[in-house]
């Protein structure tokens, strides 16, 4: 588990993803009354990871990607598909944005908890007691 410290990379990627998603949600929220604005979103962390969970690696088109020495690019932003437009063409719903924001925050907390508990394990293996 700690040979290459992949769990830290995973927690890092998860926290990063939560941060980007939260920024997108904040943008939607700020534009909740802008006429013609389309609500935006980025893909789930799960789908970005893909089948990587099996071999515990991030999926990448080239192995030089995602080796965390240079960080991966921001995930692609797309218009949220299931949104219903207001009469002024705005597709932001404050309620669902609120939910997405809370989800992003929970994902971020989860990632930090994973990081911290791994750190605790690592520390206790170093300490002499």
């Amino acid at each position: 588990m700690f040979e290459k410290l992949e769990i830290f990379q995973m927690a890092h990627a998860m926290a990063r993803h939560a941060g980007s998603r939260h920024a997108v949600v904040a943008q939607n929220m700020a534009n909740a009354d802008t006429p013609g604005y389309k609500a935006q979103d980025i893909a789930d962390f799960q789908s970005l990871m893909g089948n990587a969970a099996r071999d515990f690696q991030m999926r990448a088109t080239r192995p030089s990607h995602l080796n965390m020495s240079h960080s991966p690019g921001a995930p692609a932003v797309f218009d949220r598909p299931d949104a219903i437009a207001d009469p002024n063409g705005n597709t932001v719903s404050l309620g669902s944005e609120m939910m997405h924001g809370v989800n992003a925050k929970r994902q971020h907390d989860r990632a930090l908890a994973i990081y911290q508990s791994s750190m605790t394990i690592l520390r206790s293996s170093f300490s002499r007691r």
Partner: protein, 130 residues
């Protein structure tokens, strides 16, 4: 961390836009009985400065509502014409109040988002503490 500062700047632009809107709404409400007053409206639009910068919300120019002014019959009014009517304002209190409620709701949502972003940043810094 830059995602957090992006989120903070977007949220604060939202707060600013909503408070601007509320300012004009209160101006309209205060002038509901001013003869000849036309209600002011502002439009929101998104600014995209670059591909990676977030879409901040901005308020556009203030426009006057060009709908007809209300004609009020009061022959004793100093501005009344020969038929005894004078032109009031075209402010509809119901519309202004509903608009103000919407602005308040959006303001609160942006504030909530701002607070949430700060919490996420703080929990990140807490990792450094120990």
């Amino acid at each position: 961390m830059s995602e957090f500062s992006n989120a903070l700047s977007v949220s604060s632009s939202g707060l600013q836009a909503q408070s601007q809107r509320l300012r004009h709404l209160s101006e309209n409400i205060a002038n509901v009985d001013t003869p000849g007053y036309r209600r002011k409206t502002i439009a929101f639009h998104t600014t995209m400065m670059g591909s990676d910068t977030p879409g901040l919300v901005e308020t556009g120019r203030v426009r006057m509502d060009q709908s007809d002014l209300a004609r009020i019959y009061d022959p004793t009014h100093p501005m009344a014409d020969e038929s005894g009517n004078y032109e009031g304002s075209n402010v509809n209190l119901m519309i202004e109040l509903a608009d103000a409620r919407e602005a308040q709701r959006s303001y609160e949502a942006n504030l909530r988002m701002f607070e949430q972003t700060r919490q996420m940043g703080r929990s990140l810094f807490d990792l450094l503490r120990r």
